[in-house]
Every structure is written in C-alpha cells, then in structure tokens.
Symmetry: C2
Subunit: 208 residues, 2 copies
C-alpha cells in the first residue's frame, strides 16, 4: 500500500519510470493534506474562548475533515488500481467478431469505471475547499496561513484530479456519458476556483 510507505519512499517511487503512482494519486494526497490542515485548524480552535461561539460548527468541521482525509488517502491507492480494469480488458482475446465486440465493451466499461476514481477525488477536494472557507473568521487566527495552505492543496488536488478525468475522456465513445462528465468537471472547477479565490483573498488580506 502506497500510504504505508514513508514520504521519502513514496517520493522515490513517484519519480521513477513506473507509470503508477502518478498524478492521480498525488491529487488525492494533496486533497488529504488539505483536509488534514483543516482538521489541525479545528483542533487548534476547539476549547479556545475566542472561538466559543463557533465550537459546534468547528467540531462538525473536524469530523468532516477527518472523514475526507481518510477517504482521500484511500484514493491514493485506489487511483493507482483504477486502470487495472482497462488493462485487463485490453488483454482480452480478439480473434472472432464476438470476442472483438466483448473486448470493446469491456474496454469502454473499464474507462467509465476508471474515471470514477479521479471524479470522486475532485468532488471531495471541493468539499475540503468548502470546509476551509466555512472556517474563515471562525477559527484560530494564528493558524490562518494553515487554512490558506489547506485551500491551495485542495484546489491543486481538484485541478489535478480533473486533468486525470480529462486525459481519459477521448477514449470513451458514450456521448451522453462524456457530456455529463464534462459538465460535472466544469462545474467542480468553477465552484472550486471561486471558493479557493475567496479563501486566498481573505487569508492574504489578513496575514499582513
């Protein structure tokens, strides 16, 4: 498992000529680091008098951030496995017309399944961004730069995951599926960009 590796070791495997892990796993990790920083900011704000009015919200945000981190860390490994189905389909026999047709269908199914991994990463990165935004002005100001970094990491994860969706779209022939996917990633990017810009602006103006 990739997440059991030390950071040093993951870095070495990532840099190697092995095709996996690659950008998809890094996007998931980036989102997880963002979620962890949100959780840290919550932990540094809980039980503090200055943020007494927001304790319930902070506590709920902490729970959510921890769940998102766990799920995004799972995706670090899952993304690397996502294309095994496509690979297996490409290895199917293609002697007869029937075999060719079954292989084509399996490849298409494989791509559609595989795209779900980066799409899920992108959706959860947006959730991390929205959590970070929800804590502006309601959490420990000493950790304001951490909230900013959380947002940047989650947005980089969102954009990276979307790139990993896009690189596979040309292989999919189902036009309805392609249109729906394009529409969703465009909406995720638009929302994410708006939230990350809001957070960046607030943090920059309040850091000094």
């Amino acid at each position: 498992m990739l997440v059991k590796m030390s950071i040093e070791e993951f870095s070495r495997v990532l840099a190697s000529n092995a095709p996996a892990p690659g950008g998809g796993s890094v996007a998931a990790l980036s989102g997880a680091l963002g979620a962890d920083l949100v959780a840290m900011v919550c932990n540094l704000s809980l039980g503090k008098e200055s943020y007494e009015a927001f304790q319930d919200q902070i506590s709920a945000a902490l729970d959510k951030a921890q769940g998102l981190s766990k799920s995004l860390l799972e995706s670090v490994d899952r993304d690397t496995e996502a294309f095994n189905g496509v690979m297996a389909a490409f290895k199917m026999p293609k002697g007869t017309e029937e075999e060719k047709s079954a292989r084509r269908e399996a490849i298409q199914r494989g791509y559609k399944d595989a795209i779900q991994s980066p799409l899920g990463i992108a959706r959860r990165c947006l959730e991390v961004l929205e959590l970070a935004e929800s804590l502006l002005g309601k959490s420990n100001t000493n950790a304001l730069s951490d909230l900013g970094v959380a947002s940047q990491q989650a947005y980089a994860g969102l954009e990276g995951a979307v790139m990993n969706v896009k690189i596979n779209i040309p292989s999919i022939k189902d036009e309805k599926f392609v249109a729906e996917t394009r529409s969703e990633i465009s909406s995720l990017l638009q929302k994410g960009s708006k939230v990350s810009q809001n957070v960046y602006k607030y943090v920059s103006e309040n850091l000094g």
Copy 2:
C-alpha cells in the same frame, strides 16, 4: 524525521493539535511531489524515439528535478524547526534593560532567519514550475496530465510558502528587510502564476 514517517502517520500528526508540522511543511512536500512528477515524466521520455531530439534537455531536467525534490523534502523537516530560534529567543531573560534589548534583538534575528525557510521553498517551487514548463511538447504525451499535476502542486507549494512568509512579516521591524522580502515574494508569485497558467492552458488544450 517527518519524511521517514509513513504517509498515513504524517497525515495523522498533521491533523493533530500539535502546532508543527503545519502549512510550511506541507508547502515543501507539495513542491517535492511536483518535482517527483517532473522526474517521472522525464523518466518516461528518456530513450523514447519520439522525443529523441530532446534527450539532452530531458536528461538535464531529470537531474534538476531530482535535486529539487531532495532539497524540498529536507525542507519538510527544516520548516518545522525554523521557529525554534524565535521560541528560544522569547524565553530569554527580560529583567534588566540590557537583557530586554538583547532579547528583542534575538527575537528579530530569529524571525529573519525563520522566514528564510518558506522563502527558500517558494524559490524552489518556482524552479519546479519552470522545469515543468520547459518540457511541454518535448516529453511523453501519455504523461501530459502528470506534467499538469506537477505544475499545480508546485504552484500550490509556492503560494503556501509565501503565506508562511507573510504571516511573519508583521513581527519584523527592519523596514528595509521587510520591503525587500515583500518585493521578492510578489515577484515569485507573479512569475509562478504566469508559468502555472501557461502549463495549465497547454495541458487543458491538449488533454481532450
């Protein structure tokens, strides 16, 4: 050492209420992951006929990416140590006027030293961005999304490091130092933003 921790363990420590590691270490890690992805793209392009004309450039980029990854991973730990000097200075005696003055000077020196860590991370993230840009159209097209993710990670690292510079600027009284630092981070952000937008545009247009 943080980089000897498993990814899972680092994630857990990051999310905790311990003030370190925080956003500075994550910014360094993000830059290192970007450098690793650049190295991976180089490794997937070396010895490939289609990129024969660029082999020397790719080989030089690989060396540089590996060096940047190593140095940014070192900063994951170094950034966490950066404020030890400030902390130590705050604990100095402040009984007499002389002690107070020595303490004030040590605190100022501590802040100036401490700011060098995120500033160095930001500079090296810009180098990662420029490396990624230099490989557009000259590296394995199958890894184009990885080059895109490399750039996003490096830019998030740059922005995150700059936030960690900014949060400490208000504590520094030397106006010349502050002006020079503000000018440098503004230049780093401007250059980084331009490069990352170039890479993002190229990758988005060529992914499908």
